[in-house]
Amino acid sequence: MVGALSLYAPGTSPLHRLPASTKLLGLLIGGLVVTVPRPDALLLGIAAAGVVALYLVARLGLAELGRQIWGVRWIIAVVLVGQLIFLPWHVAALTSTRMLLAILLAALVTLTTRASDILEAIERGLAPLRRFGLRTERIALVLGMAIRAVPIVIDLASEVRDAQRARGVGGSITAMVVLLLVGALRHADDVADALAARGMDDDEEPVMLEGSVRPRGASRLRLRR
């Protein structure tokens, strides 16, 4: 289910095959190298060449690199406008380039790593905290539940919108969000009840459930009032 929603670009390049934890560490170091020193044309030129090389090694191609830059064009534009008002143009150009490189480097990790692999790396990274009473398996459970809830809540939102439109009261944001919220809360409580009914107690080790409970809120909402 993560697959359909994710920004991951499947592949078999050396970068795809690296462990998620290695790539995250690399991103951390790369991000620091690009962002911490004062913006400097030579350093940023080398970094830019490195980023282009990495996109080629990942077999994503320059087209994907272009797509990534295109994807953040508005952010860059807004930042540049702000900078050009208050900063000399060459400083503005360098800091914007620096930001763009950091974003492109991060996108590279996102493109070459499955979300589930990153989640696993995070869970493993948190494991030492178990000693302090943090229940890391619960963190994994909540992250999984949230991923599954996204399409459900989106469905709920479109159902609410359709219901509002059918009633001819399409305009009010407030009414729409209230209905969405009530539906979502009801769904959350239904899932909790279902989990409890399957024997998962509050203080027990949780079991991952496959499949999800259908949102019943929206259909019921139409009948109220």
């Binding site: 702000g82 809540v153 809360l185 009801r186 959350a188 409580d189 509050d202």
Partner: protein
């Protein structure tokens, strides 16, 4: 929080945290809503952050926003406009995103100091203004200044463009919280079983439509 554990979450806490993270994501996918004609396009995502604080409370609201940011960090396009991935935490809006966590916590603390209490409209409004706008900008503006290289005071000036939209959202969040308290009283009682139908509503007279 007087249990043996300093902080413990029930099953319905966990599912609500998960669903609220998804809800804020869904509000972002809904696209920008244009208020006042087309002058200020705003997304409803920060409205969702405010509601996470007012409805889930401080701790669970903050955890819920952390869950959302974790999913964004691992590469799901859950921010408005389909943004996601590690990159957003290196961009100019990184501080505002981190501000969502602290903001939701402060909103919860001000709006409902005690769990299970029905929120009062004035407290909710103050909470959304202080937590949803004040705290978010307090973290967001310095980080934006750091990332873009534009000095702090000037960055603050630039960020003023978003304040009118956020003020509208604080008012909307207050109206919505009162309406939810009426439509689904269990929202503030923790579990459904904890709410009694006979309980009189003390929220203000706003209705859903």
């Amino acid at each position: 929080m007087s249990e043996s554990r300093p902080f413990s979450l029930s099953l319905s806490d966990l599912t609500r945290i998960a669903v609220f993270a998804a809800l804020v994501a869904a509000l972002g996918l809904a696209g920008a809503v244009s208020l006042f004609g087309n002058a200020v396009p705003i997304t409803l995502q920060t409205l969702g952050v405010m509601l996470a604080g007012t409805i889930l409370g401080a701790w669970r609201g903050a955890i819920s926003m952390t869950v959302l940011l974790a999913l964004v960090a691992v590469g799901l396009p859950l921010l408005s406009g389909g943004r996601g991935g590690f990159g957003v935490f290196l961009g100019p809006s990184a501080g505002y995103l981190l501000g969502w966590v602290a903001g939701a916590a402060v909103i919860g603390l001000i709006a409902a100091p005690r769990r299970g209490a029905r929120p009062r409209a004035w407290r909710v409004l103050v909470a959304c203004l202080v937590g949803g706008i004040g705290v978010v900008y307090l973290i967001g503006v310095p980080v934006q200044s750091l990332v873009t290289g534009v000095p702090l005071a000037e960055t603050a000036l630039l960020s003023l463009a978003f304040v009118p939209g956020d003020l509208v959202k604080a008012v909307l969040a207050t109206l919505i919280t009162s309406a939810v308290a009426k439509a689904y009283p269990a929202a503030f009682g923790g579990r459904r079983a904890a709410s009694s139908p006979a309980e009189p509503s003390i929220s203000s007279s706003t209705t859903a439509s």
